[in-house]
Chain length 950, copies 2
């Protein structure tokens, strides 16, 4: 009846109608509620309706198109279909956030989706479709778009000032070259929507219940309106064409959870295509981003160049979406912990053999993928949805493990009463490719304990007091979540230094000193809090090169001294809070998304611990923030400030999704003349790995244990926002104040956050090593497994130490193993990441190489296939298909980036250039490694070892 | 996947799930807007969505059911289907109202739908489904249900006190014997919903966007809730079973404009049927009212008896839906006028031959059917929808006719300047089966005019002054609707008595007296307003038997005297208004639906005309009401009161849909002990034909020209509500105050209503004749056609007088021909109605007979088939299929009603018992009548005659 077969018509404005539904995998409702369509009183949204109604609509007319992003919510529904276009965009399990997720999580969730789509449907997505995230990271552009083989990245949300300028200058479509190191080899053609991801005006919404005028083309009825509606369409098309290069424009025909009865949209679009093309002024067609970008490419245009990223995002004056960088710090911390655990667990799963009974990381993989969603780890979901994400992570973790509450110092195995003659066996696993020494802290009841290494030798250990705050928190939370308080209460942290080979483990035995035949001599114990009190009322803290000087009764940090590097700096550390604006001025309060401070107030700290370890030249600051009081009706956002007298010249650096560091200049944007209306919120950036500043002589770096927001609001000063508790909703849809509480029975109080950050000052130019190497250690802490033994039962029956790699081999200092995973096929997925950018470090910003034979010494590699980043196609195939875009002004062309050479199948050496991540599928000649044998040498163990989180 | 095949299970509570959508053919949106789904900002409703989504849902599972009422809105959509159950209910073009429509309109619209369904789908509906109308008429029960062959009538809205008692006594299901005359031969099994026509609780709505909990039966997702939902279902079923006889209960699964994505409902009902039947406590099944009532019938139960009707309806205290009896009196008047016109026009169409070019009544038939809808002629639609209905009537009328504004005295042909030598030819058609004399009034410019009959003889005529009010209204409305004021202004009504044979016409020629050779003698003219002024300041009005006595300066009616019948009664006539309650007490204002008076106030009348014609023993009162002032912010409802000193003993009588008269007793209901909280509104009843009261000596009757509300609030007094203008919405959905205005350019004022009612006092027992015979004349006035002639052109070329019937024959006084219509098949539909109830009139409440041969003297009848009322099946077939229900208490059984015998094909005489309506399809041996020949004897006429409305 309607002619919907239009293709592209040269010489006309071509309106690419791209039907889509934006189906968040959780936001106001949980992902399952969205799927089945329950809880509709919160939001009318049912993905099952979308899917059910889509199929007949697409079958009814083969010209129709539709694109679908969120694989996590489809439950394999599209298996019924052979519509490739459905799957051409993103293809990850979710549309991940770009501020809060770590790049490893972004890769993992994308890989999970991409490989699923490839295996199920043989489809390779070619379009990035980040229409909703609240700002866009460099890593998204060059890693998660260019390196997965996308030809186009499309999104909607950018700073309102930036957008205005781009509209004015027709620069909404750009070539984005986001990596300094990889340059044009990892650039991506990028389109920014002129407005949002919805139809071009209020007049083109066709959901059941939408109020846009339908095209009434039945002359037998009243209100025939074809001419008016065609005019509406043509006007909107011309308006958009006027701000767009080439004569192709794209209309995103849909929005959140639309197409619940897909027919309603297609019926109207059918009519528009039919009548608009009859009219002939413009050409309308069913299209996809892929068809759109191919048409753009065919136009052979040159495009403006864009570097760096699109942070921070403000949708209007005083509305900077920089609060969510910190919102829900507990969830963000949980996600980071699980991310690290997942990385390590996959290694163990591989060593053990994926098909054997025991560990399975699949459920955790799914949960972790889901929680990368831009309303999940971002902290911008409703409370019940945040709870749902945490539950999913917990289930995923529990499927393999027990003892999930160790992270708040509750761990029954380690609290066993050793006086009864039992020993505690601690197996310490190191998921890094480097040999590593690190402090292990375990809560214990007994004072008289000794630690022996795997050879039976007593090693140095310390007893540290448990903070009263931690103890009460521990009791409170175990009552809240376990429904009971614990019957034994640990008194101390037992701390000792463990040394573990790369991809390997070592074993330590903790037993009663008496039982072990030792007096309670506390031999070699030293408590860090026993410090030197010098003249001038200062306290000096630090057992090694690094000394921190504190002064006065309140023990205020004064100075940072490293005797080895000769750094000696004035340094203060303090806490302040911002009052969250209540919106009384202009209805824009501070909220889950938006940071809008209204005044700065100091906090006198209590319950903070600063640790300085022997052999570690950084300070570890453990903070306890909360419950944040809101009895005064005022929301508060707690920030730590590190203040030096460095002349940082408005400049500081923050990482992009945990990877590249990007220069930030206060009150300044490279792409436009910033009109400053929020001098604090407008200078906040996401921090996943760290933040630093420098002057002529030194660099002050802070690394974090989870994603937070950070900035440098004054020269010489860095700050991190640690926690937020607010009383108003910020009017971006979530309709809840960000007010996290914990309830014990009927009594609720604000959530308390315990976290850490790490601080170090280096001579200028020498800081990258710590940021990169220690950053990797923060991300991948030791993994601990506990068991009990009577006598020497365990030690005698188990291998005490092990490395998966050749014992003579470690990975180069500038390379990290970020994925080692056995695939369902039995093949192995390996990802190696160069950790340094070009020019970042004199020694380490160089080509590096990894010897695969030594990484897998006990197996024989039969085949190595280099893949794209998401491992859904061979890298060579991807490179061959890639569209090459022209950039305006030849002077902006960079020399081609250096990259590692293809892997010689004989040598099996992988070269990695700065910032390069290489992904391989490795096949082995069949034989099993001995890891699981090592752990399970006998079958009559009373208790299976489980790996837990330190 | 789900087992939906359940049938009835004996011994269990059977929950009949009846999926349905209640799709008003106009209410808040126009019928077309509802169909295509435009104007969704007013109401989310799109019937196309319902229809489009229904088919795949029904095809997907043959166990699913659905019922659909409104044929007017389906546009033949179901032609695609073979699901009989879709069409088993109502089957008319709309779900007609039961208060405002005349029974002839109800029959016509039902016939239109029933014959369409029969022809297109070969389906005969068996269920009446009046779920939404606001009260239920006796005529609906015995005529539009029993006589069309329904086995069950189901509805929802009855008085809240009545419902409470019925719930308590398990008497929601009854045998309704609504006709005194036809008794058990026209009774109908009737079901009243325990609540409304929606699902049993808020928990069972499944439209896209509804918030009822869906059945979450996927164990892989969170929130699995099958046990809870099954419990919800079982609880609701048991609750309803507890108030219902037999173990069958019906759930109306739907409501207004639901099933816009039918799948969403069926998916949930599939699950309920599956899991509830697995549970086994009750039995759930897809069903239809037909399956339901067959199950009830099989139970062989005896049922309570109900007589009379279900008026008035109150849904709660102080909320009597008796305002709508009068709401939109102009629309109600227009509908009545069009109804009469349609009846006459079909006669002409038949005489002329339907297949010839010229008149077509099809469009008017459709419009008239549509406007019987319970939010159309009821006056309870939004203003723009009322406008749409009027437009449709106007288009329907215009398709055959011109000059639609004669009813406000604007008619160019009759206002031709006769001084130019032309004459005006008036052809007067009488659609009644009786010979008839009646006064014709035509506006004229000239004073010097004469009227000649068809033989050229000058007959008596009168010039009556046009009221100033009428003139200014005429000018105002012609400017409003034609965009210009008229260029000639009539000065007088020219009145003369026309005498016309049954189903025939006569011709009158109006010409200038001068031209016609007469002096301006005004011979025989008499103006009714020139009256006798007697002593005592009284004025006596009346040229014949009837005299009205007026007294005082204000000419107040004092006395009614009929010299022939010796009736001599004190009689007052006055106007009052009720203040419409503003809802400030309890949020229940007076509005389009609800009449809620708050105080009674007198009105001094101006601009009223009372006419008494020679030879007519009744008074004709023409009222002009409006604009009703609301500047004081108070809505007003204008009422006329006729006050006598009769001792009426709380009792009065109103017709049911223009047919049977039902006894009404003030502040009393037969079926329950009425708790009186609205002593005025709660005593209002719909009046379509008339209202009367009586005492020992006399009967005072009032007949109306359209449907209105009426009552007797005090003994000896009758009142009619003539017009309403209100300032508040009454909270029943329409969301507009009933405030009709007319705008001339930018100036708007309240709508003015001009109407008539007729009053007569008879000796007791002798009043029915006038009510019935003159009532028929009011309904079917003369139809006038105008043309001009030069000299005697027309008269010489046309037949001047004609009767379709045998010239020696007229119908009996107690029989009316209510349908004479050529069907598409060429056959003829004939309906004859006995006009009297049993015991209504000594002479006329008797068996009567009609000789068909004399009705069709010029044709030869080949076959007569008696049909059911809606002519979609043979009467004999219907009688054979009819279910016979048992009534509680044998003493309530009546003797079988008397009915006419089957028609002897040789004699062709139709017998009619009191209140009997008999419907026939008549076939003729092919030959054409001469009517069209008579009118169009020559083909070179300058102007085609058109029939217009006096």
């Amino acid at each position: 009846m309607y002619n919907t077969s239009a293709g592209i018509v040269p010489g006309k404005i071509n309106v690419h109608l791209v039907p889509h539904s934006h189906d968040d995998v959780g936001w106001l409702k949980t992902v399952d509620q969205y799927y089945v369509g329950s809880n509709n009183s919160i939001q009318v949204a049912c993905v099952q309706n979308v899917l059910d109604s889509l199929i007949p609509a697409l079958v009814a007319d083969k010209n129709r198109k539709f694109i679908y992003v969120e694989q996590a919510i489809t439950h394999g529904f599209f298996a019924l279909l052979s519509f490739d276009f459905l799957l051409e965009i993103n293809g990850g399990m979710c549309m991940h956030d770009e501020a809060a997720p770590h790049y490893i999580d972004m890769i993992d969730q994308t890989t999970l989706g991409h490989r699923y789509i490839k295996e199920q449907f043989n489809v390779t997505p070619r379009i990035g479709w980040q229409i909703d995230p609240f700002g866009h990271s460099a890593v998204q552009a060059y890693l998660l778009s260019a390196e997965v083989g996308f030809d186009f990245l499309f999104f909607a949300r950018i700073d309102y000032q930036d957008r205005a300028k781009r509209i004015n200058e027709k620069t909404l479509e750009v070539v984005w070259r986001a990596s300094k190191s990889l340059g044009s080899s990892a650039q991506i053609m990028t389109g920014i929507s002129p407005k949002n991801y919805e139809p071009p005006s209020d007049n083109f919404y066709f959901e059941v219940g939408d109020t846009s005028p339908i095209v009434q083309d039945d002359m037998n009825l009243f209100d025939y309106n074809v001419p008016e509606r065609v005019n509406d369409f043509v006007s909107a098309a011309i308006a958009q064409a006027n701000i767009t290069r080439t004569n192709h424009i794209m209309w995103t025909m849909g929005t959140d959870f639309k197409y619940q009865y897909a027919h309603t949209w297609f019926r109207q679009m059918d009519k528009f295509i039919h009548y608009v093309n009859q009219d002939g002024r413009v050409n309308a067609l069913y299209s996809t981003p892929s068809m759109y970008i191919d048409a753009k490419y065919a136009a052979n245009e040159s495009w403006p160049l864009k570097t760096d990223d699109f942070f921070p995002y403000a949708d209007r004056e005083n509305a900077y979406w920089t609060g969510y960088f910190t919102s829900r710090p507990a969830l963000k911390g949980y996600v980071r912990t699980m991310s690290a655990y997942y990385l390590a667990a996959r290694q163990l799963e591989f060593f053990k053999g994926r098909n054997e009974v025991g560990l399975s990381t699949d459920s955790l993989a799914d949960a972790l993928a889901l929680v990368q969603h831009h309303d999940a780890v971002s902290g911008t979901e409703k409370q019940h949805v945040a709870d749902d994400y945490a539950k999913r992570l917990s289930i995923g973790y529990t499927e393999a493990e027990k003892c999930p509450l160790l992270n708040i110092s509750y761990c029954p195995p380690s609290e066993v009463d050793l006086s009864s003659g039992k020993s505690l066996v601690v197996v310490v696993y190191n998921p890094l490719g480097w040999k590593r020494e690190d402090i292990i802290r375990i809560p214990v009841i007994n004072e008289n304990v000794t630690v022996k290494d795997s050879k039976g030798k007593v090693i140095e250990s310390q007893l540290l007091p448990l903070l009263k705050d931690s103890m009460s928190l521990r009791n409170s939370y175990s009552t809240a979540y376990l429904g009971k308080s614990t019957n034994v209460t640990p008194s101390y942290w037992l701390a000792f230094s463990a040394s573990v080979p790369p991809l390997g483990f070592n074993t330590y035995i903790i037993s009663s000193a008496k039982q072990a035949g030792y007096e309670s001599s506390h031999s070699g114990m030293r408590t860090v809090y026993k410090s030197q009190i010098s003249q001038n009322d200062t306290i000096e803290v630090g057992p090694g090169n690094l000394k921190l000087l504190y002064s006065g009764k309140r023990a205020k940090l004064m100075r940072y001294i490293n005797s080895k590097t000769s750094v000696n700096k004035l340094l203060e550390q303090s806490y302040i809070y911002y009052r969250g604006d209540d919106g009384s001025k202009d209805l824009q309060p501070s909220g889950a998304y938006i940071f809008r401070p209204n005044g700065t107030y100091p906090i006198e700290p209590e319950g903070q611990v600063t640790r300085v370890y022997k052999g570690k030249d950084h300070a570890e600051i453990e903070f306890t923030v909360g419950p944040i009081p809101i009895d005064d009706g005022i929301g508060k956002e707690v920030v730590t400030q590190i203040t030096s007298n460095m002349i940082s010249n408005k400049t500081f650096y923050t990482d992009s999704s945990g990877r590249d560091f990007i220069e930030r200049i206060r009150d300044y944007r490279k792409d436009w003349n910033l009109e400053v209306n929020q001098p604090i919120a407008g200078n906040y950036y996401p921090v996943n790995l760290g933040i630093y500043m420098k002057d002529n002589s030194s660099e002050l770096s802070i690394l974090v244990d989870r994603s937070v927001g950070g900035s440098s609001i004054a020269d010489g000063q860095l700050e991190l926002m640690l926690h937020r508790r607010l009383v108003a909703d910020d009017n971006r849809g979530v309709s809840e104040a960000l007010n996290e509480t914990v309830c014990v029975f009927d009594k609720c109080e604000g959530l308390t956050i315990i976290g850490k950050y790490y601080l170090r000052i280096d001579p200028v130019g020498e800081a990258a090593k710590w940021r990169r190497s220690f950053g990797q250690e923060i991300y991948s802490p030791f993994l601990l497994a506990f068991t009990e033994q009577d006598g020497d039962h365990w030690a005698n029956s188990h291998l005490a130490t092990y490395s998966a790699m050749d014992t003579t081999y470690v990975l180069p200092d500038n390379v990290a193993l970020i994925t080692l995973q056995e695939l369902d096929s039995g093949k192995v997925l390996l990802r190696l990441a160069h950790l340094y950018e070009i020019e970042e470090d004199t020694d380490l910003s160089v080509m590096s190489s990894v010897e695969l034979k030594k990484v897998f010494p006990k197996k024989k590699i039969s085949k190595v296939t280099e893949m794209n980043l998401s491992a859904n196609q061979e890298r060579a195939v991807m490179e061959k298909k890639r569209l090459v875009w022209r950039v305006e002004g030849s002077s902006k062309e960079q020399p081609t980036a250096v990259r590692g050479s293809p892997v010689d199948p004989a040598k099996l050496v992988v070269e990695l250039a700065p910032m390069e991540i290489r992904t391989f599928v490795i096949e082995f000649y069949s034989e099993r490694g001995s890891f699981s044998d090592a752990l399970y040498r006998r079958s009559n163990l009373r208790r299976k070892a489980t790996f837990s989180l330190p």
